[in-house]
Structure formats: structure tokens, C-alpha cells
Symmetry: C2
Subunit: 171 residues, 2 copies
């Protein structure tokens, strides 16, 4: 099954994290490949790294739009490691019941990964494992092959009133 969490609203990543917890509770083996997320910054990282049956990989920890002094070229280079990991999982025998590809939609949007090649690998992987892809702006080609697509739609957000991101809620 191929699941996509997209949209401008909150909940794409937390829903994937919740899905990991649900899957682990059912005895699934899980792999999380995270992009653009600084280490030991997000609260969930501290809990997830302690859980059994979960392999956690983090690549391209800094996105050039968020962190100064990171070039598009550097981000693109680092995303190659994530692409290679995805390629390994797609081409080798099934290792995980669930694979979460966090913020891969952003890597595709920003052309840090080649769209057709990445989507081909995701499709291949989803034929043996459940796969969740998160990030705003999911490409239409990915939506077309997905089984379940949810748009997290922002109805109301405190950022629009100038409230800053809060520890424990946004990270």
C-alpha cells in the first residue's frame, strides 16, 4: 500500500509518526528515512530512536531554505544518499513492513531527487512494503499511483496570528 500525506496544514509528519507507532504495536518492522530535519531537534526523534524494530536514517539534515550557508548543490548531493537508500530497499528482498519517506515530496519539488526515477523506486518498494511519503506539494505522478492520499488542510493556524513555533507541538 502506498500512502501520501500532503497539503499545507499541520499533521503530515505527526500522522506518519503515529502510523509508525501503530505499526510497531502490531509487530511490524519499520524503516524511517527522514530528510531536512536537524538531529535531536524534533521531540519524536528522541523517542523513536529508543524503540525496537525501527531503523531510523536521517539525510540532508539542513534544507537550504531554512538554514543559512547550505547551498542547493549541497542539499542535492546529500539527497543522493537518501535516494541510494531507497534504491537499496526497492531492489533488495523485503526487509520492512512499513517504510516512511519523510519530506520526500519536498526533495522532489526542489529537484534534489530526479522525479521519475524516485517515483519508480517508490512504486517498486510499495509492491512489497507499505510506504508512506510525506511533505507538501506531492507531485501528481505520485498521487496517481498512490492507494491512499490525505491532504492536511489548514483551516486555522496560529502562525497566521504571529505565534511562534512551540516546543513539543511544532518540533
Amino acid at each position: 500500500m502506498l500512502i501520501v500525506n500532503t497539503g499545507e496544514g499541520k499533521g503530515k509528519t505527526t500522522a506518519a509518526i503515529g502510523q509508525i507507532i501503530r505499526a510497531l504495536g502490531q509487530g511490524f518492522s519499520v524503516c524511517l528515512i527522514q530528510l531536512f530535519k536537524g538531529e535531536s531537534f524534533y521531540g519524536e526523534q528522541k523517542i523513536l530512536t529508543k524503540l525496537d524494530n525501527l531503523d531510523f536514517f536521517s539525510f540532508a539534515k539542513e534544507h537550504p531554505y531554512c538554514i543559512e550557508n547550505v547551498t542547493l548543490q549541497e542539499a542535492s548531493e546529500k539527497c543522493k544518499d537518501a535516494f541510494n537508500k531507497l534504491s537499496e530497499l526497492s531492489n533488495e528482498p523485503k526487509k520492512y513492513d512499513l517504510v516512511v519517506l519523510e519530506e520526500f515530496n519536498i526533495a522532489l519539488r526542489d529537484k534534489f531527487m530526479e522525479k521519475n526515477a524516485t517515483i519508480d523506486l517508490i512504486k517498486k518498494l510499495s509492491e512489497k512494503s507499505n510506504v508512506i511519503v510525506t511533505g507538501r506539494g506531492a507531485p501528481q505522478e505520485l498521487i496517481a499511483i498512490a492507494d491512499l492520499v490525505t491532504e492536511m488542510k489548514e483551516i486555522k493556524h496560529p502562525y497566521n496570528k504571529g505565534v511562534k513555533a512551540q516546543r513539543g507541538i511544532e518540533f
Copy 2:
């Protein structure tokens, strides 16, 4: 902060679970009050009950629309315990950094809890703790007082193609 996860799409509960994991990772104390969810059925229950700093309460485990031989009257009676727990948390000094009220929107929709009284308690609680309320059909009165509202919007769902709920994904 008062957060509402609503809409017909997937991800309302899993996003709340992910939020719990994030909050626990930041050292928050968390309380989860769950409605209409059978024990040891959902994968997340097996993981959450093992985590520190999380108090987990489950009331009205059977919803009459899902489980035969449960009357509306019985569900309504059992929801009183959840209302009383909410009342206790709202009226006593702050005990938790985050309180998750799972499927409370459904209890309000089905009139198992009195709407105005419940929303007053939620508002009071959200003045000292972060509160997340989940469930489709969030009442307008709750949306009006919330800080952050996300609609999980179904773009594509395999149920519409006749696929059954899958272990590790839907429960």
C-alpha cells in the same frame, strides 16, 4: 493552545499519536483520553502504554454504530466518565503539558456529551495545557475557540475501491 484534528480523511488519530510522541520527546507530561476504541486492538495502544510520562484513559470502548448490542443509552452513560475526567483536569491545578481528547468530536456529534458544557471545559483546560481534540465533524463552536484546526481531507482512499482495513495501517 487548543488544536483540532477533524475531517473525513485519514490521519486525525495518528497525527495526535505522533504529537504525543513529539511532546514526550521534549519532556512533556501527557494525558490521553480515548473514546470508542477497543482495548489492545489498535497497535498504538500497545506502545503508548509502555511509555513514561503518559497517562492513558479509555472510556466508552464500544460505539453503538460499530458494535452490535451496545445501546445509545449505554454509550452515553459511559461517556459520563470521560466528561468527569475532563472536568477534573479542567478544574484542578495543571497536571499535564498536553491532553489529547480522542474522538471527543464524535461524542459531541452523537450527543453523548452536552456540547456547551464540554466545550467550556475544553476551553478552560486549554488555558493551562495544550489540548488536542480529534474526530470528524468538529462542532463550529469548538473550531471558533481553537488556535489550530486541520481538516484531514480524503483525496483518495482504498476503502472506496472495496479494500478492507489493514492491520498496522488502520488499527
